[in-house]
Amino acid sequence: MYDIIIIGAGVIGATIARNLSRYDVKVLVLEKNSDVGDETSCANSAIVHSGYDPHPGTLKAELNMAGNRMFAKECEELDVELKNIGSLTVATNKEEEDMLDKLYVDGMTNGAPIEIISAERLREMEPFVTKKATKAIWAPTAGIVNPFELVVALMENAMDNGVELKLEEKVTGIAKDGDVFKVETEKGAYQAGVVINCAGVNSGVINNYINEKKELIRPRKGEYYVLDHFPAPYVTHTLFSVPSSKGKGVLVSPTTHGNYLIGPSSEFVESEDDKGTDGTTLDNVIKEAYRLVDEIPMQYVIREFSGLRAYHDSGDFVINSPVPGFINMLGIQSPGLASSPAIGEKAIGMVRDVIELREKKDWNPRRRPLYRVNTLPVEERQALIATNPDFGQMVCRCEQVTKGEVIDCIHRNCGARTVKGVKKRVRPGFGKCQGGFCEPLIMKILCDELGKQPVDVNYSNRGSYILKEKTKGEK
């Protein structure tokens, strides 16, 4: 019997888990995938929005504003990469300028510290912005975060403080008997007094297990291009276009590792498994991106990907408790990431309405920092290697990752179990060769550390094997 069961370990579920880990309650997180944060929370623009653009009065506006303010502390405590680079929303004609003025008014109402800047000032700040730009909104409090690290760090810290995580546990039903919920999964059943639905695009389905009022969450796909990091200077802010008759606009933004994202598109899809990309959509993304920049170095494209927004017809976040003890996090689409710390805080308030939350004395908000060997000055690096030569052994050429870091990310709480899990935690495979060189080395380390055979190592979920069979000897 648990006090609280959280369904789904995306950024929302992980934030709530970590927030609950401060209190003296027994918390279980159920996640259908083989790793945390493998759905929408790892396939988005990674922007910590300033909060200026949601419609005033919406939950999105409130929680984005609050979340943005909480982000720096959270990332500092958890050793998660966050860069406060600011965003620029760029107008290129009269229609867009009018739209920009409206956005500015909304932003002021929301209380975001934003500024309208001239074309001249814009070009000074961002030389790579299109020459067509006439005016922009500068939002200095916007930032970029490493979303892979964020979800892992939240869950790791939650587990350091006693939260239990069960992976590969797909929830298939919920029943309530008196005050107790019975949460069924493909593997078994778990009981708790409070259930929090953080199932992203599946949150409608989860709601419908227990709530008479059915909810529909529609997956709305966004496709992107990723550019490799390259030495020449390029865009240094997040650039947004203004929605106009020319299209809803896309963004061009650096990532915390100096790569660049271009996207996303936006179209409804049938299935929450539809995470493909397609040429026509991406051609369109590029066309839209040319409203922001005049040059896109397409020779540096290393990947395409897509993520699914959990769209609710209200257009807003829907956070409610339709059944006592059952809490819904529905429609957490953008700016869900930016709002996540505030959503987490709101959830605590809602749980408190149901059960008593007593603070633990020994709660530790900090996670043990990562090694980040390639950022260390030479002497520190040498000193670290002296303590453990695995930090001298390189395994990833593109992102310069050491064997010591890979081993470390396997042996932490919420440690890596898959090739993608290692990639999300310490980056081998994110670079130009996309794992072509390092994958066999990562496989070997996973096998050595977890006592597995290479044929049993998956790329991500069950079924995503990399090697089919051994050629010689026993099969």
């Binding site: 990723v226 390259f230 030495p231 498994d273 539809d274 995470k275 493909g276 990309t277 397609d278 040429g279 991406l282 494209v301 290393i302 990947r303 395409e304 990907f305 390639n374 030479v378 690096r381 040498q382 290697i385 002296a386 030569p389 695995d390 001298g392 052994q393 390189m394 050429r397 593109c398 310069q400 050491t402 064997k403 130009k432 060769c433 996309q434 794992g435 072509g436 060189f437 994958e439 066999p440 290479p454 044929v455 998956n458 790329y459 991500s460 979920n461 069950r462 079924g463 995503s464 094997y465 990399i466 090697l467 089919k468 069979e469 051994k470 050629t471 010689k472």
Partner: protein, 423 residues
């Protein structure tokens, strides 16, 4: 060994190019040489090329990749040249400090008199060519599958489709067939193959593996692991021709869609890069735009035959030795070299008047040709014209300029061009 050490010559990458360079530098009198190799063994990509076809030019015999590599490893060992494996170079500075990290030595900074960069190439991936569809496992580059099979002893799958007719893909079609897989076909976007003719015959025809020219992947299907691949013909604008989809049930899609020189270390310090080869710009001495830093092998431009890589490595080694022994002395008139009609790229990008005898032009054509001439001109005037029965993009051409008399042009600004002349 943490700290700073000094060598006359540091060679980054111990593949065919780097090993040949080390031997040549030694034989030119350099004794303080360090070869740094990131992998566990010397030899580079050849170690996974267990098929034969190597060495016909170099040793006048046909051997397997590892055998060929061993000859050079032996030459390096005989000379007592110092080599470190498991040692990855992380930085080369413009003043030739080479930073490397290794299990044995930790993080070391080497002060080098000269540096040769021979870091090989990497394979283009799915992301680089934007293959539509989902992202399951089971889609990988042919070279990675080759490594899993030939080095680690694992098959990546049993029902295989191959995209791209590059040589590695062709070799893997045969290799996986021999290992019991069913290779359902090879699709190539262009109307001609990008692999060597002998590989089309020996790896596809001999095993009845169909080659679909002017076709590409339209869709990938599969959630966790690839289940199906949809292939479709394309028109002359490389757009899909509707209604002609072919669906194959597969557990593997191998990509053999091109190789790219691997030079992050040089790019990082602003070495001038060649827009076509994607390697550095070099002169006839294989020196890059930063003095004392040389490049050779697949990191300079992608080669079809390892024998030419070895020869290029030797040239780099010899010239690095000249540089160390008091300079290259390239102070005679500069001749810029550029590709024209029908030529994809030509190396070197420049030479000097008194080095003409040692200059070998290396180039690739953009498309296949039959019965044409290669015309080499200086300032628009033909200086060499060669008949070619056929030219293929898959094959690198070598034309030595030995004996070319260019004194008449001295004093003018000289530009040499290479072009295909159709009769």
């Amino acid at each position: 060994m943490n700290g700073t050490v000094k060598y006359d010559l540091v060679i980054v990458g111990g593949g065919s190019a780097g090993l040949a360079a080390a031997v040549a530098a030694y034989d030119s009198g350099i004794r303080s040489i360090l070869v740094l190799e990131k992998d566990k063994y010397l030899g580079g990509i050849l170690l996974q090329c267990i098929h034969n076809g190597f060495g016909l030019h170099e040793f006048k015999e046909e051997m397997a990749g590892p055998e060929y590599a061993q000859r050079f490893i032996d030459q390096v060992k005989e000379r007592g040249i110092e080599c470190k494996t498991n040692a990855m170079v992380l930085d080369i500075t413009p003043d030739r400090k080479v930073h490397y990290s290794s299990l044995e030595d930790g993080y070391v900074v080497v002060e080098a008199g000269a540096v040769i960069c021979s870091t090989g190439c990497s394979e283009r991936t799915r992301g680089a060519i934007n293959i539509p569809g989902t992202r399951p496992s089971g889609i990988l580059t042919a070279g990675l599958a080759q490594r899993y099979l030939n080095i680690e002893g694992y098959m990546v799958g049993k029902r295989v489709f191959i995209l791209g007719s590059g040589d590695i893909g062709l070799i893997m079609a045969r290799r996986m067939t021999l290992e019991g897989a069913k290779v359902l076909g090879v699709a190539e976007l262009m109307p001609y193959s990008n692999g060597l003719n002998r590989n089309i015959v020996q790896c596809l025809h001999d095993y009845n593996i169909p080659l679909y020219l002017h076709h590409t992947v339209k869709e990938i299907i599969g959630k966790d692991h690839i289940e199906k691949v949809v292939i479709c013909p394309v028109d002359d604008n490389l757009k899909f021709i509707e209604g002609q989809d072919m669906t194959f049930e597969v557990d593997t899609l191998l990509l053999s869609v091109g190789l790219l020189p691997n030079n992050p270390l040089l790019e990082k310090i602003g070495v001038r890069m060649h827009p076509k080869t994607k390697g550095p710009v070099v002169n006839e001495d294989l020196e890059t735009s930063i003095p004392g830093i040389f490049a050779c092998g697949n990191s300079l431009h992608v080669h079809d035959l390892v024998d030419f890589v070895s020869a290029e490595g030797r040239l780099a080694g010899k010239n690095a030795a000249r540089f160390l022994n008091g300079g290259l002395g390239d102070d005679t008139a500069v001749i810029d070299i550029a590709p024209l009609n029908g030529i994809g790229y030509v190396l070197p990008s420049l030479t000097h008047l008194d080095s003409i005898d040692d200059t070998v032009l290396k180039f690739r054509v953009k498309q296949p040709y039959n019965n044409v001439y290669i015309n080499i001109k200086v300032n628009g005037q033909s200086v060499k014209r060669l008949k070619k029965p056929y030219l293929l993009p898959a094959e690198m051409e070598n034309i030595p300029l030995k004996g070319l008399e260019l004194q008449a042009f001295a004093g003018d600004k000289m530009e040499m061009t290479v072009e295909v002349e159709e009769s």
